[in-house]
């Protein structure tokens, strides 16, 4: 059972001096190895387009994040369970005036099944990833991965492909049958890295006062526990001890970030548990994460940056509500949705919060967003669509 003591915020540095990882201790640079293989004619490297921003990584390295001209590798779970997640990412691009491609020539990454041991064919797994990379390259746009499970898996695939010539040869043959070249992006980039890179631009366009909002952050295991060197670590966030992803964005927006004792723990989704031990996932999400956040911080919202994390933390609260004695739930949003709300996005037309399980309305009230009026507008939209079968909401409707 968790030990319920109030958590002290990390802040002041220990007296031992500044924390720093030495650059020479970084794992091998897969980016450099990728470029070397291109020089040897093994594959094509798709370079990060200009303009791009540089963000700091774990051992004082640098990662290049494209600002625009991106090919959006969407997430099955986002599109299926949290459609406002993907929509918010697109909406942010549009509001920042950044061009992007929303492709139809994209398959599922199949990583969820891979992590649940349901698929185990290395060449097939890699071929799926490389097929999508080839599709992005053929479109001329640079891949931006929406889902951290896809992102983590693609990073693992890149490491396998870099290290194993036999696998490269196998995948090259598979792609040849599809008429596609073997292409590896210079950097594997997650959408949350893009949000991190543009966080100050988002903050400049904020139309909502967030100074009274307290958030907890859940970082996605698939983001920073796989191929760790590739994740963003910023000396200005947690002193560089923990990945800065999401927290740095929340802080840039003026939100108070509350620390809690199970920050490092998985959301409950696991790498396979949600598929093979869902009851365990539900219990873990509620007891280890949500209740720890509630007891130690009592935040207005918890922010995260992955399909599985949003879904597990949010939907598992249904199970908790079935038990007596469960206190108020914590709304769970992706930081993309939260950023969009901060910039004035419609909570239903864009962020589609009606798909969320935990009650988000107190959060909107605290942010000064009139959810009743917004919901009425959305119901009008629905009535209009019902009266005109075959129609759907457009970006013009979204505003």
């Amino acid at each position: 059972m968790p030990i319920n003591l109030p958590v002290i915020q990390p802040g002041t540095q220990a007296r031992k001096g500044p924390f720093a990882r030495r650059p020479e201790d970084a794992a091998e640079s897969l980016r450099e190895r990728t470029l070397e293989l291109a020089e040897r004619g093994e594959w094509i490297v798709q370079r990060v387009p200009e303009p791009h921003l540089e963000v700091p990584t774990r051992s004082s390295g640098v990662k290049r994040v494209p600002l625009g001209h991106t090919w959006h590798h969407k997430s099955c779970g986002q599109c299926g369970h949290i459609p406002g997640y993907s929509t918010a990412i697109f909406w942010l691009h549009r509001k920042l005036g950044l061009e992007y491609e929303d492709p139809r020539d994209q398959t599922s990454c199949t990583a969820w099944n891979y992590y649940a041991s349901a698929t185990a064919n290395q060449a097939a797994q890699a071929a799926v990833a490389l097929r999508n990379f080839a599709a992005a390259h053929q479109s001329g746009y640079y891949p931006l991965i929406h889902c951290a499970t896809s992102y983590g898996h693609y990073k693992e695939v890149r490491a396998e492909m870099v290290h194993h010539k036999a696998l490269r040869d196998q995948v090259r043959e598979i792609l040849k049958k599809m008429g596609k070249p073997l292409v590896m992006p210079e950097e594997i980039v997650h959408y949350s890295e893009w949000i991190y890179a543009v966080r100050h631009e988002i903050a400049k366009r904020k139309v909502v006062d967030l100074s009274g909002i307290t958030a907890t952050v859940h970082p996605a295991c698939h983001y920073y526990k796989l191929v760790q060197e590739d994740a963003i670590y910023d000396p200005d966030v947690y002193g560089g001890h923990r990945t800065a992803i999401v927290t740095g964005v929340a802080q840039a927006l003026g939100v108070t970030v509350g620390d809690y004792s199970t920050w490092f723990d998985c959301c409950g989704f696991g790498f396979r548990h949600i598929l093979v031990q869902r009851d365990f996932s539900r219990s873990f999400a509620v007891q280890q994460k949500i209740e720890a956040m509630r007891d130690e911080v009592n935040p207005d919202v918890t922010l995260t940056h992955d399909t599985g994390c949003v879904t597990t933390l949010d939907k598992s609260q249904f199970a908790a509500q079935a038990h007596t004695g469960v206190k108020a739930a914590i709304p769970v949003l992706s930081e993309a949705q939260f950023c969009a709300l901060a910039m004035g996005a419609h909570p239903y037309r864009v962020c589609q919060l009606h798909w969320h399980a935990a009650d988000y309305r107190p959060l909107l009230e605290k942010m000064g967003i009139d959810w009743r009026e917004r919901w009425r507008e959305f119901e009008d939209d629905v009535a209009r669509l019902k009266a005109n079968p075959g129609t759907y909401l457009t970006w013009d409707d979204a505003g």
């Binding site: 030990i3 540095q13 007296r15 031992k16 720093a20 990882r21 201790d25 001890h241």
Partner: protein, 355 residues
Amino acid sequence: MASDTLLIIGGGPAGLEAARGAADLGCKAVLVEQRAALGGTPISAHYAALTHGMRDAAEVMGEMVAAVANDSLVDVRLGTTVTGITGAAGDFAVTLRRDGAEERVSAGAIIVATGFDHFDPGRATQQYGYYMYDDVITLTDAEKMLKEGKFVRPSTGQPPERVCFIQCVGSRDRHIGNEYCSKVCCGIASKQAIEIRERLPQCRVFIFYIDMRMYGYWENDLYWPAQEKHKVNYIKGVISEVVLKGDRLIVRGEDTTMNRPMEVPMDIVILSNGMEPSAGTKAVARTLGLRQNKYGFIDVAHDTLDPVTTSVPGIFVAGAAAGPKDLDDTMGMAGAATMKAVATIRRHARMTSAR
């Protein structure tokens, strides 16, 4: 022209023992130390008691320093570094730098005894929070406190009620690349656990470990007394993270014996940090052209059969410059290296006089 002098680089236990041994054999030695004082890491890192025997580190090292400092055959050069080398076995010309001035000395053979650095947990997984929490300390930090005759929580200055050690921080860790066991940390942690229990009888002490590795006589000197006499709790389990809750550290991990996760409050967490080649070892290896192994330690001819001969004829190594060593290894290696180095000098002298 053969030189009759042995150059020893490093004034810690291995270097001091080598210098003393060379003088005992009637061989002239130049002992170079970059610090301002002899004694090496046991002195510079404020060691309290040395295993085995728990004798005071300053006292033991003081005896070793005196044995060298008072010997006319040993020329001690403090505040001095090695910056260059020419020649070969029997007739090396080595450049020494001190206070910006350079000097060349001739040497028939060289012993490198440049030692190790304590692993910096800043390089390890961030979950242990060494740089985040004042009450997360290292073996070295704990040793310094014990040396000063106190053991308190750095954050409050109050005696702790619960202390734990986390073993294998920076050792046996494939992820960070230090795949070796550092050999001494289990013994040092057990020694410190005993010292803490003796100093603070009300304080509970835990040691979280993968395996406890206490070689030879350490078993009866430390391992059993720690448990049977001093009631130290050894728990087989890997610790995943340390977080702060209220005014206490929470240690999370798995109790592998009980096959369950655990969450234990502590006042002080001591990271049993292992060994890495010292900056001096790496610099000297580069300067002298010595082959290093994948971890940066100086490579030897054979780890078992010849642990002191380096890749350059006439240059030998002793102590932790060649890998993780305890004092038993270090003293033995210093003797072996001295024997081989003096033999090299005399062999070349005979060859020269025969010509």
